[in-house]
Symmetry: C2
């Protein structure tokens, strides 16, 4: 079947789609495909309901409303950022779990923001008009200006968070408007030992046995928000072979990338990222191993780095696989041949591949410095991010909105300040070792004789420098951050806080790199990919979906097992299987189930499906996405992809790649039998208005 | 005190030595220094006795004879290679420990070789004569030839293992002759939980509480060897401020390196090595976490990579420390100025620094490829090392001894075969993931389009390729290895074993890189450093010791605490402190003492010194070195240096840097009270002949 598809994909006049492929725009759903493959036609109401029941977490992840009282379900590992920030040396909610038996016990999150997509406008024409005929440097300024302006106008008009999203790497621009919830409270989290049962070894694997869920509630004016749109709970969950839909926020894919771009990722970007991820993992692991309190402080960071490392490794394996790269090459050759045969396309698009290459040559020259200074890899700690944010916010606020850096545009300031003025705990010891290590990396990568390195270190070793910076800064104090922002440029310029001074020292070189990047890499790629996207529309019609951009997408697939090393892997596991899995590993970490689970083993219906796999097209960022059936009822929640799915970064496959979900039945069963959380289990999928409570 | 010394070091007419500095040659002991500082004059007999009581482990480490019946003491982590190879899924001697209550129970090691230094000849003149007047390419061949020939002559004459050792980076050449023991049996090992108590977090730290010891016995003709020279056991151990000596095999230092060379290490070599070490650590850790059996299989490898990572990190921190680099710079400037002022020295040596730089430029151009192919980083698994060894052994054996690669010269063949035909277990799953990862690194570093990469992968992904190679090879079978070596070139050429074919495919390019390296890097540096060494002798007299070369050296120092973060750290810990240290960390891994220790807590004299620090000048390779007092009695065994000692790679310091030892009293106390090993405790330091048994 895969072989056939490759043949199809090689013909430029045929759709390059394969099986259940696609992370589809909500305003451009794959109606034809669903009709052809499954005889299913989603109505506009069905789509709107699913869209407005779906939410995005600013901490990175997806979720859904599951009651009319603002109850939100997501993954434990999406909620972990919030759990970490609520925890202290007294209470470790990640390890211990949490349950608010009464509404008054729900814990307000420190800086969590939840977005609900209200509507989408195609603003491509307005953006294109603004840059038409301009050279790259002017186009970059003009493009930024029009995007900032569109957002500001929308925000002023609607009060909604308004983001102009770049689709098809620059082929289209859509305005997304979100309702924003910033009063979000923690309702329930299981213990990490069952939420992330199997730990790093089982991560990106299947079979799995994880209760990777977490419940929050959004509030309006101090009361649980009334959420008109929420997902009903399926009584039986998804069955084998059943069609399911995933509505979530895939973070980033690189499927439309040219071969030159993929090779750049393979040869430069991914290996560099992996060196960095391993470096941070080892650093955090050695810090964690020193004491239990250290381990608690670093656990969410460490999970994040390990998860990324495993995902990137899988991605790199795909890029190093001649079978996958061969398929990508044939697809590109087919497209380029078709473009060459079409005079109009050849004129508009023929040079685009070369233009991408040129942009990558520029990137190769600045990538290391850009990452160190503008992406702040040289100053890897929370407080430097705060210093950068405070100093730049003041700086950018003096400029007209249209001229600001994108992330400081007027429409996004509320969300930005939510982060910048977060009361999340900061641990100076952890900050120091992270900063010291990254300053050491700065010396390694920029060179000990680099003038900026010398200015930063000022005769000190990286460790001494980091120690003095973190000990000396007052930025731990949120009131001080606010003072600086309110004090404006005078306050910043006269500020002798060592981290603010460092942020200002680095700002000039960092902005210069960013300018080069935006003009010669980003803008150049937007133009080139924009043309390639237009060629694809011309040749394939609407059967092209944009690469993932952490915006809401619709994916679909069927519940289906797969073959691995000659063995048939069934589509789901059971609750009873979790206990066996623990036993098979001697019950030692990370294969130890919480005591509560052993206590209630006999109460549970062991046959209840626990985790299941389907063929839907997902990637990181989809974590927490609801999985629904044709009726729009919730049947599961995405929490992982198997190891074979990691190449989905570049190309869809349904041979072995699978999305992994917690089954809806297991959630109710565990809440009732293990956690004695009847009220929460009862609320799932319930409409209080309808039942008259 | 340090400040004063720095001033002294800056004057070229003064000795650059500082405090208890020096890893001295046994045939050139620091008599003057010992007399001046401590009024101690070691006799020739004292020195010979210590030398012949000291042993070297071919697995990397030091040790000493501690009875007249061939009993050898070393560190647990030196013995771990042997423990690992003796273990199976049934018996994990690293974790469980081992004690042979009777001689018959002593376990024969798989491939351990122990060397005792019998004598040393200075052969510098003969080597220098052989290369005089030759250009680099010819000199490299001639130097190799004369070194191989000297070794072969010595071996033929004495039957002793004979190694020509390069000292002062090429300033001198000494012939070391060793008695070799290859029948070595395991007598005692404690559990890893107490041998490496505190694990990676406590590694390179002090205070420490580790029983890092292991006992072996060497055999001659099936009977315990009669060892005339062995160390007596001190009754009380070392006291505070007492002068002590360390006799062991420091592996490698870079103290005589030029500034350009140090910067090369700082900017290129160390960062590259650290990326590799972290990569391997993460790989082995994720493999280990999958199951207890995996953890057992990988534990010695994982420890090795973690230990190296921490050591390299400490070294890099030193190279990035402006204080240390400033001191090195001032020393170099002083030496160069003195050379410039002396016409004769200026003529012979004036260009040497430039020559080192030139050699480093060459190295920069080939380093990555050299590491991948000749150093085999692209093929990181035991079985590829075997394939390389088998194929090259056959190849080199056809050449006259003088023309062979150094490691295949006649005098070393017995030791080489001991490794090549080792029956140590090989785990195909572990081999596969290691090879797959390193092949992936090969693609990353050499580039996916590199012709050799393409030939090696032959259309397969790194994972597929590794799987096929390891599944397909017969080299697990030692008899097959012997067959190939005995079959000679015909057998190798007609062999279709996939790893042998791979080794042959890579051999040409690898040898070419090695030739460039030997001619333009190694030979060039030998010449340049040879001249610099001569200038140092001329200016400083004999107060110069060579950098460490994993050959026997004498260091000395005093038992002495140090100040850290404003706190006074006492020179030793006690047995009672170990229990407190465990309690302070919640008793969780790696801070859990074995159950046996808790059972016998009350039996132990808690005040017994456990670990202690001294100012002796040591580095990796010194692990297991005996520490003796003026009377030559054993008072401890080196097992670590503190974190501040890691810069000893480049410069000695006694401000905070300390060598860490297990105290002799703790060893006896633990053997008697915890392990019920009276017979072993009684044997320590005992002369069976003398007491008439």
């Amino acid at each position: 079947m895969v072989f056939t598809t490759v043949l199809v994909a090689e013909s430029p006049l045929q759709s390059p789609l394969h099986g259940d492929e696609g992370m589809w725009l909500m305003n451009r759903p794959p109606r034809k495909l669903l009709r052809q493959r499954y005889g299913f036609e989603p109505s506009d109401a069905w789509l709107e309901h699913l869209r407005r029941s779906s939410v995005r977490f600013n901490s990175g992840g997806s979720g859904s409303f599951v009651s009319s009282n603002g109850l939100v379900m997501t993954n434990h590992h999406v909620g972990a950022d919030c759990l970490q920030k609520l925890s202290s040396s007294e209470h470790d909610y990640i390890r211990e779990g949490f349950f608010a038996r009464q509404q008054a016990e729900e814990l307000k999150c420190v800086d969590l923001e939840i977005n609900v997509l209200v509507d989408i406008d195609d603003v491509t024409e307005r953006v294109e008009e603004a840059v038409a005929g301009l050279d790259a440097a002017k186009a970059r300024t003009a493009r930024r200006a029009v995007m900032n302006t569109i957002e500001q106008e929308s925000f002023a008009e609607t009060g909604l968070r308004s983001d102009v999203v770049t689709l098809y790497q620059g082929g289209e621009y859509h305005l997304y408007r979100y309702k924003k919830y910033t009063d979000v409270r923690l309702v329930f989290a299981p213990e990490k030992d069952v939420a992330f049962f199997g730990g790093d070894p089982d991560n990106f694997e299947f079979p799995r046995f994880d209760l990777d869920i977490c419940f929050f509630r959004v509030y309006d004016d101090g009361e649980p928000a009334k959420t008109e749109h929420f997902l009903r709970w399926s009584e039986s969950g998804a069955g084998d072979g059943e069609l399911v839909f995933v509505s979530g926020h895939p973070g980033r894919t690189n499927r439309l990338n040219t071969m030159a771009h993929l090779k750049f990722l393979r040869d430069r970007t991914y290996p560099m990222q992996l060196n960095l991820l391993r470096r941070r993992e080892v650093l955090l692991k050695t810090y964690s191993d020193r004491s239990l309190e250290n381990a608690r402080r670093a656990q969410d960071d460490l999970f994040t780095e390990q998860n990324r490392r495993k995902a990137r490794l899988g991605g790199l394996a795909g890029l190093q696989d001649p079978a996958i790269m061969g398929r990508k090459l044939r697809q590109e050759q087919a497209l380029r041949q078709a473009v060459a045969k079409d005079k109009k396309l050849a004129a508009s698009c023929g040079e685009s591949w070369k233009q991408v290459e040129t942009s990558l040559d520029v990137l190769a020259g600045i990538q290391v410095q850009y990452n160190l200074l503008e992406a702040m890899l040289a100053f890897n700690c929370e407080l430097f991010h705060v210093a950068r944010g405070v100093a730049r916010l003041v700086d950018e606020s003096t400029k007209p909105n249209a001229e600001r850096l994108r992330e400081y545009s007027e429409a996004g300031l509320e969300s930005l300040k939510q982060q910048l003025f977060s009361e999340a705990p900061v641990y100076k010891d952890l900050e120091t070792i992270k900063l010291a290590d990254s300053l050491g990396m700065f010396v390694e990568m920029a060179g000990a004789d680099d003038p900026l390195v010398k200015q930063v270190l000022d005769g000190r070793s990286p460790v001494e420098c980091a120690t003095e910076l973190i000990q000396g800064t007052r930025l731990v104090d949120v009131a001080f951050r606010r003072e600086l922002v309110e004090g404006g440029q005078d306050a910043i310029e006269s500020c002798d806080d060592p981290l603010i001074k460092l942020a200002r020292l680095v700002d000039g070189p960092a902005r210069k790199l960013r300018k080069t990047f935006e003009e010669q890499v980003d803008e150049a790629q937007r133009r080139a990919y924009g043309q390639i996207a237009k060629a694809q529309f011309a040749l394939y019609g609407s059967d092209v979906y944009p690469d993932a951009t952490f915006t809401l997408r619709l994916a679909f697939g069927v519940v289906k097992g797969f073959r691995e090393r000659g063995e048939e892997i069934p589509p789901w596991t059971t609750l009873a299987g979790a206990f066996d899995h623990s036993d098979a590993h001697g019950g030692v970490y990370p294969f130890q189930l919480p005591g509560r689970w052993w206590d209630h083993r006999e109460d549970l219906d062991g046959e209840t499906p626990f985790n299941f796999v389907c063929t839907a097209d997902i990637i990181g960022g989809n974590s927490g996405s609801p999985v629904v059936n044709r009726k729009g009822e919730l049947v599961g929640i995405i929490f992982d992809g198997n190891i074979q799915s990691l190449v989905l970064d570049f190309a869809y496959s349904d041979e072995q790649a699978r999305a992994v979900s917690v089954h809806s039945s297991a959630i109710r069963e565990a809440l009732r039998k293990v956690y004695d959380a009847e009220s929460l289990a009862d609320e799932l999928g319930r409409d209080d208005q309808a039942v008259g409570q």
